[in-house]
Amino acid sequence: MIAALTQLLLFQLAGEVVARGLGLPVPGPVLGMLFLFLALALRGGPDAELQTTSQGLLQHLSLLFVPAGTGIMLHLHRVADEWLPLLLSLLVSTFATLAVTALVMRLALRSTPTEGGQP
């Protein structure tokens, strides 16, 4: 577990250094994810330890959101002031995204000779 955590932290560190060093507008951990993905492609996949550790970390992903989510207490007045645009935006945008993604994929699948999914 320690070796896998060390790997994850090293990739995150590399991501932070490159993002800040080159002034890229991308969060460091995202670049770290990209680097790890490339490393996995070169290596032909994760070792057992990295597989287990990342699975454990991602299984409890929702716990990691709690401290940031609790930060809502700093913004209660903003949510109270702007609840209508927030509610409508979340509702319409989420359903529009679901529908657009699905429709575009269905169209693209129909117009390419079927290699994957059902017709």
Binding site: P29, G32, S54, E82, P85, T94, T101, V104, E115
Partner: protein, 243 residues
């Protein structure tokens, strides 16, 4: 309160132990409720923990910053967890090569729809600019969304809450929408849920079918990456639009 208890409280209130412990206890309790409800998406464990913690902190008059001094140790793990997303991304990526083009087209269309429609509707109904910028990355998994919000001038903690709300909406509603659209392919259903409502939607898709779950996990990772690259690059255009 006896002077003795008072001394203990003064000590605990100033140490990071309390903030860290109540975060874990609140989450354990919320997760127990979630399981008891048969994993009902409305009983989302993050929503329940946050509500309980906000109530507790408000009742005891504890400032958020004092709480966060302890909770930051949990918060810090979001970084390594984001990096760890590369592992499922890599595992799913090989399965999906066969339908690469439809997947990429769906991804780009969905990702743009998520960002632009959220901003457009928010602006139409009078949301302020910091709120709009906090809304923009709402379809992406929280660690990425918060990083993007910080970069483009939104409020990361507000984004976290909006992301969670988006996840719950998609997880609850997707099924009815797709049934109405007569859309049955589990690969398409799963991928669309992953693009629109990230990890919470993905967890839901896995409960429906293995294939839908795999495509949702892939979509969550790809949309996180695309939004993190695209949204900061779009900012010069967006800030002209937002005025």
């Amino acid at each position: 309160m006896t002077p003795h208890l008072n001394e203990i409280w003064v000590y605990l209130a100033a140490s990071p132990l309390l903030g860290l412990t109540i975060t874990l206890v609140a989450y354990q309790g919320a997760f127990w409720l979630y399981r008891r409800s048969g994993m009902n998406p409305l009983a989302n464990p993050v929503l329940i923990s946050v509500t309980a913690l906000v109530a507790l902190l408000s009742l005891t008059g504890t400032p958020y910053q004092t709480y966060f001094d302890g909770a930051q140790f949990v918060h810090f793990l979001l970084g390594p967890a984001t990096v760890a997303l590369a592992v499922p991304l890599y595992t799913q990526f090989r399965r999906v090569r066969a339908m690469l083009l439809p997947v990429l087209l769906g991804l780009v269309a969905g990702s743009l729809t998520a960002v632009l429609s959220a901003i457009a509707i928010g602006k139409l109904f009078g949301a302020s600019t910091p709120t709009l910028l906090s809304l923009a990355p709402k379809s992406v998994t929280t660690p990425i969304a918060m990083g993007v919000a910080e970069r483009i001038g939104g409020i990361p903690s507000l984004t976290a809450v909006l992301v969670i709300a988006t996840g719950i909406l998609g997880a609850v509603g997707a099924r009815y929408l797709f049934d109405a659209m007569k859309l049955r392919d589990p690969a398409i259903r799963g991928f669309a849920i992953g693009v629109a409502s990230h990890g919470i939607g993905t967890a839901r898709a896995f409960q429906v079918s293995e294939q839908a779950g795999a495509f949702a996990a892939l979509a969550m990772g790809l949309n996180g990456l695309l939004t993190a690259l695209m949204l900061p690059a779009l900012m010069p255009l967006l800030s002209r639009w937002l005025g």
